[in-house]
Subunit: 191 residues, 2 copies
């Protein structure tokens, strides 16, 4: 998606430790016009695919999932929580995940009533790196007896293992920008 790649080149900041900061337009600060273009592009790529629900993970996946849902007939958006909150029913799907960004393990949970047997679930997230968050969403979808319709990712770090592993599982993965190399010195190379 050229519009996105141009924006990453213009505003993305490569930081030490394999971190790409695109907070100025993609997550902590959000360009809503760009989010709408991203939503349309996911709809184009998943055209003809049955989607009854969109599943993402807090926090930065939520905005792009909600705007994207508008292009999937307002499919309900469900987000997995990273911690069990006191105002959520005890009746949860859950699995363990390791965060590359934060270097910690956590449990992700989804209340059972929000994912149903027979659902066809589109997974949406802003980033795919080592893929543990998406692996967790796949596991939760399977726990629910639902099927993964596909996974839509805004930025894939192609030099990490997540994308390869998801594709080997025969999950239809659509990444709108795939970064093959990046470094503080040499900048960003897209696939």
């Amino acid at each position: 998606m050229q519009l996105l790649k141009d924006r990453i080149r213009a505003e993305g900041k490569v930081m030490p430790g394999g971190i790409l900061n695109v907070g100025s337009f993609l997550n902590q600060q959000t360009d809503i016009g760009l989010y709408n273009e991203i939503g349309k592009e996911f709809a184009r790529r998943f055209s003809g695919v049955r989607v009854t629900r969109i599943l993402t993970i807090e926090a930065s996946g939520i905005g792009v999932a909600c705007v994207t849902a508008q292009y999937f007939n307002n499919a309900p958006v469900v987000f997995a929580r990273k911690f069990r909150a006191k105002n959520i029913d005890e009746n949860l799907y859950s699995t363990e995940v390791t965060s590359y960004t934060h270097g910690v393990d956590y449990t992700i949970t989804v209340p059972r009533p929000y994912l149903l047997r027979g659902d066809s679930v589109l997974l949406i997230d802003d980033f795919l790196a080592n893929g543990c968050a998406l692996d967790g969403l796949v596991m939760i979808t399977e726990q629910a007896g639902a099927v993964v319709a596909g996974a839509g990712v805004v930025i894939e770090k192609g030099f990490q293992s997540g994308g390869k592993r998801l594709r080997e599982k025969n999950i239809r993965l659509e990444s709108l920008a795939i970064i093959d190399k990046m470094s503080v010195e040499d900048g960003i190379s897209f696939r």
Copy 2:
């Protein structure tokens, strides 16, 4: 907002400890059609008010803020983080907040480049109870030398002190549903 109140009556679950679970349509699972109606209603209520940026807090404020922004000329949405993450610059506004829901204190942060002197900031959140999250967003807006254009809240718990305190500060607060009383036995009474 009648559509919202009807939905709260139909699906909201009053739980012990003053908790209202509306996760089936308002936050952890999101009805995107309803979010759009909420966005339109905020735009109607804040019609004529200058809004250059929308500020919310992770996680459940993000979706409603992003959809609402579409009705404010795609104003950029910024969300405050509750923990400092390793991929964020050190250059942060920050303040301390106590969460009623989770019973803990935490620091909320916004990178300085995402809130500017001269910004006119609309605060958006899904819930207003004791108001500590919104107080924190007000403080961060003031740290930036920006002004609070108003605060838009989907559900206000009118029996807690947050709404009263914000109105006393002369912040224009628009709550789409205000609950005056609720209990497991007697259900929900709206103002």
